[in-house]
């Protein structure tokens, strides 16, 4: 009922903030941004997520915190673009497409995590989530920075409202927890994938090239 309304409102508010102004404000972006740094960030986040996920799943309680928990994917609308991809397709992605996919995914994941942060019960969890969201924000900006320095346009906002009107609200507490479970799973998988994405980018676009292009554009 109204939890759905709050959800949509929060997402719309938090997620329609354009990322670009934030980019301009930060001094660390621009010339300093390299693919290596972004790669390192994904590894750091993956490490942080392990602790966060453990704490959060315990908060959700059984069966979500059981290591064997392997639920079927319910036929609900996918909120976040999945990291799962055909191998040949993944290999053939252009640098632009590869970066854009990461940018879009993390923008939306960040949004959903922020909403989670608002709703969650314990102070400890709120603190952890807030810290993680800050790091994740850094990742989004970092990816944006790489894209800009390579001359690629940033994907337009987090594609309208990240909660498409068709997505049904979680009708009960259990299904809401299920949504949270899958959100964390999707985030984890994306971080694993990003490490590989940025490995590939590292080989194809050495940091030196990034710096050169920035100089050419008068940064």
């Amino acid at each position: 009922g109204d939890s759905w309304g709050i959800f949509t409102f929060l997402c719309a508010a938090l997620c329609n903030l354009p990322a670009l102004p934030a980019l301009n404000c930060s001094e660390e972006l621009g010339a300093g941004q390299s693919i290596q740094q972004t790669y390192d960030l994904t590894r750091y986040l993956e490490h942080q997520l392990r602790t966060l996920a453990g704490t959060y799943l315990n908060y959700l309680g059984p069966p979500f915190n059981e290591p064997d928990f392997n639920p079927p994917r319910l036929a609900r609308a996918e909120r976040v673009p999945s990291a799962t991809v055909d191998l040949d397709l993944w290999r053939g992605l252009t640098d632009n497409a590869r970066l854009a996919a990461n940018y879009r995914a993390y923008s939306r994941l960040l949004c959903y995590l922020r909403v989670l942060d608002e709703q969650v019960g314990t102070a400890e969890l709120r603190h952890r989530l807030a810290h993680f969201c800050a790091s994740l924000q850094g990742l989004v900006l970092s990816i944006g920075g790489v894209m800009s320095s390579l001359g690629y346009p940033l994907p337009a906002g987090p594609a309208g409202t990240p909660a498409p009107p068709g997505a049904p609200a979680a009708p009960n507490d259990f299904l809401k927890k299920m949504d949270d479970f899958w959100l964390l799973k999707e985030l984890q998988t994306w971080l694993w994938r990003s490490a590989k994405d940025f490995n590939r980018l590292k080989k194809k676009v050495p940091p030196a090239v990034v710096t050169l292009r920035l100089e050419a554009r008068g940064f």
């Binding site: 799962t84 290999r91 984890q188 998988t189 994938r193 490995n199």
Partner: protein, 335 residues
């Protein structure tokens, strides 16, 4: 007509002589040898608490005519225990393989059936020709959030058992150990050893999926290993080796980001370069000219014996000294 009969170890087996009456006079044989009448109950053959050695060809003949009335092959064995199943991706991102075995033998033929489920999809695990008890799967998709569930069922005439493994795509990544590990002393550097190796040949795409390495080394005389983790490159120079000591060196590999470390590579041995003892060299120089043409004893210059390249053990030093003494002895004879 012939049958095969499977029985459990420890079971009591009663064999009937085909359609013969209970009170008919028959003779039973096992692998051609007559069986003592004490094992018979009428025309039935009673085997109590059978053991493995009682497996064989049993035949029953009518008393007087010596007509073959019944034949059976008795196979004594056991129902299968829970099989041991292991799945691993040593060729990420191509796919993974699963291999299995029984913890204890059953002594009778077993049939293994493996099924792989990914979410709602059934996948086919293609059986390998060799080794047996192994099958492989190609990934259709990468970076999956859904786990893989592998179920192995083993069946034999005496029973059935199974085991299941559930895992994430990333959890089972474990490369093969690095190959062609070579360790060499560095000339004029008594504390260095140069180690180089290659990516395991089973790893299909080290460009996009780079490996990182773990090197461990110790002198043979010590138990403590020293470790170095290397995030790229397939070579490393050890700079803190103890002079003159033989070292044992191993390397392991891991995907940069996911999975677990490989097993350790084959161990290589190397001793750092040592300077030649000065007085031996002088002796060798004198005797080289005199003994070369007259002596049948193959006395190569002392330096050659000691210079053995990759594998130089402390034993070689002893050879040096012995060779030096022998050469010295000959030189005394010829002076």
């Amino acid at each position: 007509d012939s049958h095969t009969q499977y029985e459990r170890v420890g079971a009591d087996v009663t064999m009937k002589c085909g359609s013969m009456d209970w009170d008919a006079a028959v003779t039973w044989t096992v692998n051609g040898t007559d069986i003592d009448e004490s094992h018979l109950n009428g025309s039935y053959l009673i085997l109590k608490n059978v053991n493995l050695s009682q497996s064989g060809q049993y035949a029953c003949y009518e008393g007087s005519s010596w007509h073959l009335k019944y034949q059976t092959s008795l196979r004594v064995g056991m129902p299968p225990k829970e099989p041991v199943l292991m799945c691993r991706s040593n060729n990420y991102p191509k796919g993974f393989y699963c291999s299995w075995h029984l913890p204890t033998p059953t002594y009778i033929p077993n049939i293994f059936n493996i099924s792989v489920i990914h979410g709602t999809k059934d996948m086919v695990c293609e059986k390998d020709a060799t080794p047996k008890n192994r099958c492989h799967i190609r990934y259709l998709q990468l970076f999956s959030t859904v786990k893989y569930k592998v179920t192995l069922t083993v069946t034999n005439p005496l029973g059935k058992n199974f085991t299941t493994l559930t895992f994430d795509e990333f959890a089972i990544v474990k490369p093969d150990p690095p190959e062609s590990v070579v360790a060499k002393p560095v000339p004029n550097n008594p504390r260095r050893l140069e180690v180089s190796w290659q990516n395991p040949s089973s790893w299909p795409d080290p460009e996009s999926f780079p490996l990182k390495f773990f090197l461990r080394y110790r002198p043979l005389i010590l138990d403590q290993w020293q470790h170095v983790e290397l995030s790229d490159g397939t070579s490393h120079t050890i700079t803190d080796a103890y002079a003159g000591k033989e070292y044992i060196i191993q390397v392991a590999a891991k995907d940069n980001d996911i999975g677990t470390w490989s097993d350790w590579s084959v161990a290589v041995h190397a001793t750092p370069w040592t300077e030649e003892p000065k007085h031996l060299t002088t002796e060798a120089q004198i005797t080289e000219t005199t003994s070369a043409s007259t002596s049948s004893f193959m006395a190569p210059p002392t330096t050659k014996i000691c210079d053995k390249g990759a594998v130089v053990g402390s034993g070689a030093v002893a050879v040096c000294w012995t060779a030096g003494l022998v050469v010295a002895a000959y030189s005394v004879l010829f002076i």
